[in-house]
């Protein structure tokens, strides 16, 4: 299975995720300019982090109008896997492939730091290898990462078991001070009802080599390794 890493104008984690896929995981992956993207050759797609179109107007909104998104939608309907990381998550939300909104952090500032996220469900193709309640170390780096939805939307997410990651404290508990950006219910990552689209704010690619982790681990790989199959 070949994975497409889609490069939008302003993407900046495109080369990073490509490096991890190719040189760390040794999976087949290709960088594709958003205008050149055709879905047929790929088994999965990643929308990388960065600032597509400078995050102007609202993070992800302009990229959501790229023709690439039409192809992504086709992949989704065919049941192929799509992962949006950080800005990629924002693009998925703005394309309405994932519900809700990602708004300005409660602190009103960009935040770059390592956080802990808990895996809330293993009933997704993305987390089926990870035990529920496992706590992963990964960094976040965003200004607009506060997950918001209306009460019905939120309820639906929980009822359908679509919340995949939540920010937690070192003891693995959801708490006010371990919520870095003010996300509702400390949500860090969700999937669509069909469970083949994942969006998350933390950067697994930055947590994929022990040398880069303050904890000398590579928790991001636990997630990305699903692209190996």
């Amino acid at each position: 299975m070949k994975t497409a890493v889609i490069q939008f104008p302003g993407s900046n984690c495109d080369l990073d995720i490509l490096h991890v896929l190719k040189n760390v995981l040794h999976v087949e992956a290709e960088l594709v300019w958003h205008r050149d993207f055709k879905d047929s050759e790929f088994g999965a797609a990643i929308l990388p982090g960065g600032f597509s179109y400078g995050d102007y107007l609202r993070a992800g909104i302009i990229a959501a109008h790229s023709p690439a998104i039409e192809h992504i939608k086709e992949m989704v309907s065919e049941g192929k896997l799509v992962i949006g990381i950080c800005n990629g998550f924002q693009i998925l939300v703005e394309s309405e492939l994932l519900p809700g909104a990602l708004l300005m952090n409660q602190s009103t500032c960009f935040i770059c730091k390592w956080v802990k996220v808990r895996v809330e469900t293993d009933e997704t193709p993305f987390t089926r290898h990870i035990k529920r309640r496992t706590v992963l170390n990964m960094p976040i780096a965003h200004a607009e990462g506060r997950y918001v939805n209306d009460p019905e939307g939120l309820k639906e997410l929980h009822e359908n078991d679509q919340v995949i990651f939540r920010y937690v404290n070192p003891r693995g508990e959801v708490s006010e001070d371990s919520n870095p950006n003010g996300s509702m219910d400390s949500i860090a990552g969700i999937c669509n009802p069909e469970r083949n689209v994942l969006g998350l704010m933390p950067h697994p690619e930055r947590a994929s080599e022990p040398v880069l982790s303050p904890f000398s681990d590579s928790d991001g790989l636990k997630l990305l390794s699903i692209l190996k199959s």
């Binding site: 104008p9 302003g10 993407s11 900046n12 984690c13 080369l15 990073d16 490096h19 991890v20 040189n23 300019w33 982090g49 960065g50 600032f51 179109y53 400078g54 995050d55 102007y56 602190s107 500032c109 960009f110 935040i111 770059c112 730091k113 960094p139 780096a141 200004a143 950067h203 690619e205 930055r206 080599e209 040398v211 880069l212 303050p214």
Partner: protein, 735 residues
């Protein structure tokens, strides 16, 4: 069509000189070009002579001063380009856009060498945080850097912040960029081949960037000054596209040179490129893609609009390059050709409007400046302040001083991880460490200066700045290999300021030579003074140090690692509290500024490097600002562990007081930790190099304990020290 009357800053002698060299009266456009190129900013007319004494060569130097950035060989065909620049004046009036465009400018200098920008560093100075104005500048400068750096996908990995009332009006914003490239792919910004095609790529040219001279000149236009911003607004999104498009264009092999358009705009780029290559250039100004209608030749030649690059391309090969620009959707225009005339010839609608030798612009007459020593800056008080009663209280106090406290409110706003290179992140160590992907090696970088020391003694202070930057990278496991510097001073026409500048460069030169380091580039910013009060900033030359870490296993952080390990102090402590954070805190004016002695620095650096290489060292930290007490506290806080030291074991000159031992900021010192078995080995390495060294204590569980001859002087919980240190900036600045 021409400007009505160009108001220039040239002296009558300079104008006469220009006429003589041109052999005729320059027209108004030419005069404007000469004015900009002969300005202090572009010509270095006050500083060039002084800068000549800096050592510039070394076995690793690939490109020294004279090009957009210095380039250093780090082996295996890899090179590092790095450069620093100030953006003080724009930041002082519009901190957000001023600092943002400062980042934009320095990135371009790296791109010019065909290197990929991989890191940014920022060195910031503001007035006292009690001042609302200083806080406003601080918050907006940091946000400007964050917004621009983050959006261009370049991590901001290290920096420094100082607060001092001399920066109240004139804040200092120095930004450095580090790039990675291949030695056989470097390009130099010079036009060597007549016939090459000249292409202007990137943001549209507008009137927004026409400064100084045009501002002063009363150009009559319907738009009022009120609608014209005094600084530029940068567009980091375009910059990101310019970066990628430039690097991809270079890979075609058809680009012969690239240069950024910075100060002096097109005039500066064209004249420097052609002058370096001994060629000339013909351009048609009407071809330039513009943002505003009806721009005059004068405006087109001098606009400093952001996010623009000049390319020269092999004739007949332009399509390959232009295709790349089209893919990235960055605008471009073909504006002319390289010639062999040695002249810049600019046409406007086919008519020649400028015809001037390149070298006339790039070889300006130097200014003669006088220096006068400032004899007494501080009254050398013989007396000493009373010894504090409660050292624990002093500890909390000093850790929450804005010059010592944790800068997480700053660096958390910067993406310091993008690029997957940052091994030691802001806050982890004295310097940032970036790995070279695919190789078992890394670089360490840091920017540094202590402006109070530099003010009290410009020579010693600046020598110490070089030494401190070198120690900083050494503490991470690196060998210091090269430096670039950024000078920030007041008005050089004042003999006292000029003296400070000369002393600074002498001090830097002394230490660079002593450590065997080359200076591969730099930047000079003068006139950092308040026009009303005539008060200049403290003389501040920030030093960017580059270090090479030969194996990733050598990377060392400052956090204490394990209970029971030995704590060793390398280097001797002297009663040097002049300009110390401790004296500043208690408001005591006096004492000696730390002296930096090159031979001592070299010995300490070599000792630590060898100890790290042999695998003895578990943590290392430079001991400077705040002295021994603060450095120890930082290591404890980072490690979440405690320590117990006995001051009786600290090697110092006779009859030093406790507060002097704790807070003296003597140079050439490191604190290192090591296992019990390796303790003696490190001490013997030190002995062999003549470095005074002793074991002063051990790592413990959770308390910071200081004793003298076995008797406990004071004790604090590391957790409480952490709170003082971490909460200070949010409390002072406001969240």
């Amino acid at each position: 069509m021409l400007e009505s009357r160009v108001n220039v800053n040239l002296t009558p002698e300079e104008i006469a000189e220009a006429k003589r060299r041109l052999g005729r009266e320059p027209n108004e456009i030419e005069l404007g070009m000469i004015d900009v190129m002969w300005s202090e900013h572009c010509s270095y007319k006050s500083s060039k002579k002084v800068l000549e004494i800096l050592p510039k060569s070394g076995r690793r130097v690939v490109v020294g001063p004279g090009y957009d950035s210095g380039v250093v060989d780090i082996g295996d065909g890899d090179v590092i380009a790095f450069k620093v620049e100030s953006h003080n004046h724009p930041s002082a009036i519009d901190p957000y856009n001023g600092s943002a465009t400062g980042v934009g400018g320095i990135i371009r200098d790296i791109l010019c060498m065909n290197c990929r920008p991989i890191a940014l560093l920022d060195s910031l100075r503001f007035g006292n945080p009690q001042s609302a104005h200083a806080r406003w500048l601080f918050n907006n400068v940091v946000k400007g850097i964050a917004d621009y750096g983050n959006r261009t996908g370049i991590p901001t990995v290290a920096g420094e912040v100082e607060f001092d009332e001399s920066f109240e009006v004139n804040c200092l914003v120095n930004v450095a960029c580090v790039g990675l490239g291949r030695i056989n792919e470097l390009t130099l910004a010079r036009m060597d081949n007549p016939g090459d095609i000249v292409v202007l790529m990137g943001g549209d040219t507008g009137r927004d960037g026409i400064h100084g001279v045009t501002f002063a000149s009363k150009t009559i236009r319907e738009d009022s000054e009120l609608e014209r911003p005094a600084v530029q607004v940068g567009n980091p999104f375009i910059k990101k596209l310019v970066i990628e498009a430039t690097l991809e264009a270079m890979r075609t092999g058809k680009v012969t040179a690239v240069k950024d358009l910075g100060g002096g705009g097109l005039t500066c780029a064209l004249s420097e490129m052609s002058s370096k290559g001994g060629t000339g250039v013909d351009v048609e100004l009407t071809n330039i893609h513009v943002r505003e209608e009806g721009m005059t030749p004068y405006e087109l030649l001098l606009s400093e609009s952001q996010e623009r690059m000049i390319f020269t391309i092999l004739p007949e090969s332009q399509d390959e390059v232009l295709r790349v620009f089209r893919k990235w959707e960055v605008p471009y225009s073909i504006i002319g050709k390289v010639t062999d005339t040695g002249r810049i010839v600019a046409k406007y609608r086919g008519r020649i409007v400028v015809d001037i030798p390149s070298k006339l612009l790039t070889e300006p007459p130097m200014a003669k400046r006088r220096a006068r020593k400032i004899s007494i800056i501080t009254k050398k008080r013989a007396s000493k302040p009373p010894i504090p009663m409660d050292f624990a209280k002093v500890m909390h106090h000093i850790l929450s001083s804005p010059n010592i406290a944790d800068m997480h409110p700053v660096y958390r706003q910067y993406d310091h991880e993008v690029g997957l290179r940052t091994i030691l992140k802001p806050g982890d160590a004295d310097a940032a460490v970036l790995r070279i992907i695919g190789k078992n090696k890394a670089i360490a970088v840091k920017i540094d200066c202590n402006s109070l020391h530099c003010y009290l003694d410009p020579y010693a202070g600046h020598a110490a700045a070089v030494a401190e930057a070198a120690r900083n990278v050494t503490a991470t496991g690196a060998k210091p290999i090269a430096v670039t510097d950024c000078c920030n001073f007041g008005n050089p026409e004042k003999p006292e300021v000029y003296w400070q500048f000369k002393e600074a460069i002498r001090g830097i030169t002394y230490m660079l030579k002593g450590l065997g380091l080359p200076c591969v580039g730099g930047n000079v910013s003068f006139y950092n003074e308040d026009e009303e009060s005539g008060r200049a900033v403290k003389p501040t030359t920030t030093i960017v140090m580059l270090g090479l870490i030969e194996r990733l296993s050598l990377v060392t952080s400052m956090a204490l690692k394990e209970v029971g390990e030995s704590i060793i102090l390398l280097g001797k402590t002297y009663p040097e509290l002049g300009g110390s954070e401790y004296y500043r805190l208690i408001g005591f004016d006096g004492g000696k500024v730390p002296k930096a002695v090159a031979s001592r620095e070299r010995a300490s650096i070599k000792t630590l490097a060898e100890a790290i290489r042999r695998g003895y060292v578990t943590a290392a930290h430079d001991c400077s600002k705040g002295g021994l007490a603060v450095s120890l506290a930082e290591m404890a806080i980072k490690g979440g562990l405690g320590l117990k030291v006995d001051l009786a074991y600290v090697l110092h000159t006779p009859s030093m007081r406790i507060d002097e031992i704790l807070f003296s900021e003597s140079s050439a010192r490191f604190i290192v930790t090591t296992s019990e078995v390796n303790t003696a080995k490190i001490l013997s390495l030190a002995r062999r190099r003549g470095v005074p060294a002793s074991k002063i204590g051990e790592v413990s569980a959770s308390s910071y304990t200081v004793a003298m001859n076995g008797k406990i002087l004071f004790e604090c919980s590391v957790e409480s020290l952490r709170e003082s240190w971490q909460d200070a900036i949010p409390r002072l600045i406001g969240g």
